[in-house]
Symmetry: C2
DNA sequence: TAATTTGGTTTATAATATAAACTACTTTAC
DNA sequence: GTAAAGTAGTTTATATTATAAACCAAATTA
């Protein structure tokens, strides 16, 4: 009846991160932070989880002299997001 | 940008419970248990939370000599579910 | 009458989310 | 040049949540 929802995506912040990244080529940590209004600490942890799962590629470099973290959704991430959305539809389409 | 998702509904089991109840007049504990494949303990706790929030009316009676718990979604619950679905759309419609 | 089943609730534990504290710098103000 | 404030994060401690295990009370079956 109800398909399981990927627990990694069934989290407001992680879902928002994925939702942002699915429609852009890549995004900076600070951009995601602004859009999601998450604290840096929370965002750092959640990005790390998505990255560990292979849903995101995270690139750490420098913009001038300041650290710059850039995120990009992976193929696996896109697939997981799409699967999640499809599963979710069972719950919300009466 | 991203509207907050009602944390009470943003839980796989509680969402499944609400999803079931929104399309029926009422449902028995055991019916919900079968459909959601939840353990009785977990289901008991989650129904209680939804009930405490005023999203569900829970009626305890007896069918013959066995206890019978029946659940019904409230107006408040329907509103909360609809709001949740609308908020969620921001996350899943690219 | 002893085991098993039904229909739950309570409670203990594992998992998760979050904020607070911290690190490592850079920029600005004095 | 050095103190204060800002930027861009990470780490860690704590609060919240989800879940399963243990339990209870009664009924049914062997």
């Amino acid at each position: 009846m109800f398909k399981d929802l990927d627990p990694l995506l069934h989290s407001q912040l992680r879902l928002a991160i994925m939702s942002l990244l699915i429609s852009v080529e890549s995004a900076e940590f600070t951009f995601i932070k602004e859009k999601t209004r998450a604290t840096a600490g929370n965002l750092s942890v959640q990005i790390d989880k998505l990255s560990t799962a292979g849903y995101l590629d995270v690139n750490k470099s420098f913009k001038g002299k300041m650290p710059l973290t850039t995120c990009r959704i992976t193929k696996k991430g896109i697939k997981a997001f799409e699967d999640y959305v499809n599963s979710l539809k069972q719950y919300i389409n009466k």
